[in-house]
């Protein structure tokens, strides 16, 4: 009889690493998304161009390759990263590029009359963005951000390949120690799914909260 309680501990440790990665990656992704998304609608050509290059580059190459690049190639040019740092960097930059397009789309989907109203009220570009456009755009972004966060959660499994002890890595450890495959892999599949459900539930309740008082205002 295998000692499952010990192995369950291993899996739970892995779950913590996965959650940590997801949270830190999401924060970085969110920052990059707003930087690049606002960059794409900037007045300045250089900023627009920079944001486009970033987005196309990180959406164009696969997350797996980016992770390996961050972990194996960056040290060669003098940037030593721990697996966790490399993981957060690659996940955040990759998902941030996808989310940047969401930010851009949401900002552009805010009605023309809102921009005109900003001008009529003599708000500066930044003031208008901060007080009028973004609060409305945020609500449009939120559901897609939820999907992006789930994509990020799923992508965290890849970090197991650069020896970071996340859920997938621990399942492999359990597999090699017990020889049992069904139990560890089924367990982590269920844990991943539960985490994804928690994210989508959290985003939905956040959306409901933010939409409060906006009924009838939005079309």
């Amino acid at each position: 009889m295998t000692q499952w309680s010990g192995y369950l501990g291993l899996i739970l440790q892995g779950a913590l690493v996965t959650i940590e990665l997801t949270l830190m990656g999401s924060v970085l992704a969110l920052i990059m998304a707003f930087l690049a998304g606002m960059g794409r609608v900037s007045r300045f050509f250089a900023l627009r161009w920079l944001a486009t290059v970033y987005i196309e580059f990180f959406r164009g190459t696969s997350i797996f390759v980016q992770l390996f690049f961050a972990y194996f190639v960056l040290p060669l040019i003098g940037l030593e990263l721990t697996p966790l740092q490399a993981g957060v960097l690659a996940l955040g930059l990759n998902v941030g590029a996808y989310a940047a397009e969401v930010v851009r789309g949401a900002i552009q989907s805010v009605g023309r009359e809102q921009y005109e109203a900003c001008i009529a009220l003599n708000l500066g570009r930044w003031q208008g963005m901060r007080h009028v456009i973004l609060p409305q755009a945020l609500l449009i972004m939120l559901p897609t951000f939820g999907n992006n966060a789930i994509e990020l959660l799923k992508a965290t499994s890849v970090v197991s390949l650069i020896s970071l002890a996340d859920l997938t890595f621990q399942a492999q450890v359990v597999r090699s120690q017990t020889g049992n495959t069904l139990v560890p892999f089924t367990t982590i599949l269920i844990i991943y799914f539960a985490l994804a459900l928690i994210i989508s539930w959290g985003v939905r309740s956040l959306e409901r909260r933010m939409a409060r008082g906006l009924d009838g205002v939005r079309v």
Partner: protein
């Protein structure tokens, strides 16, 4: 460490072998995803509540869990039940199932986007169910789906490096093996990244053209 062009030419033949497998896996995976997606979409429309609910939940589960873990599941767990698959076959099944759950949504949206009037007109003209589907609904539903489907096939292409984790000798795995043989990571990994970037940039152009030609569909 310096970039060495001689080394690049030396490893090129090995990498090209990997490219072939990558492309083969993408093509086979796409075909399987297209079929699986259609199956899921049809099952979810079935009047049989048990069938549509079960398939709906299964699809939700597959979409909420990482592809890498699913690949491990297919590759390591199924042999315990006597199903021994070669790595490439396991990889193609994994890709096809995972992306099938996404293409199912494209089919669903495509079918739902056919106006009600078309169904009613088909009924008014006394067409049978088969005639309605083959002559009225499918010809109208397919063209707007094409860009969205292509989008997922490109996404799948970028996920193929994951197959290296289950020992498929595709591009990423070939790159890793030459990197490990010569202890030079910078050229192989950069080349893999460049390869994916080039293909993705081309596919963006292709997608724009498809969208222009067939129109857009919202998911």
């Amino acid at each position: 460490m310096e970039w060495d062009w001689n080394f690049v030419w030396e490893i090129m033949p090995t990498l090209i072998q990997g490219v072939k497998i990558t492309i083969l896996a993408t093509l086979l995976g796409s075909v399987l995803a297209a079929i699986v997606g259609l199956g899921i979409a049809l099952a979810r429309r079935s009047p049989n509540k048990v069938l549509s609910r079960t398939v709906g939940w299964a699809a939700e589960f597959i979409r909420g869990t990482p592809l890498l873990v699913q690949l491990y599941f297919i590759f390591y767990v199924l042999p315990d039940f006597g199903i021994l698959l070669p790595p490439l076959v396991a990889g193609v099944i994994g890709l096809g199932l995972h992306y099938g759950t996404y293409t199912a949504e494209v089919y669903r949206a495509g079918i739902d986007n056919v106006p009600r009037g078309q169904w009613e007109a088909a009924k008014a003209c006394n067409l049978s169910a088969t005639q309605t589907w083959t002559n009225i609904i499918i010809p109208q539903a397919i063209p707007p789906m094409i860009p969205a489907l292509a989008n997922y096939f490109i996404a799948m292409f970028k996920e193929t490096p994951l197959l290296s984790a289950i020992t498929v000798l595709e591009l990423m795995n070939q790159a890793k093996s030459v990197a490990n043989t010569y202890y030079r990571y910078i050229e192989p990994i950069t080349l893999v990244g460049a390869f994916f970037l080039v293909i993705s940039l081309f596919s963006v152009v292709l997608l724009r053209w498809l969208e222009h030609r067939y129109g857009k569909i919202e998911r």
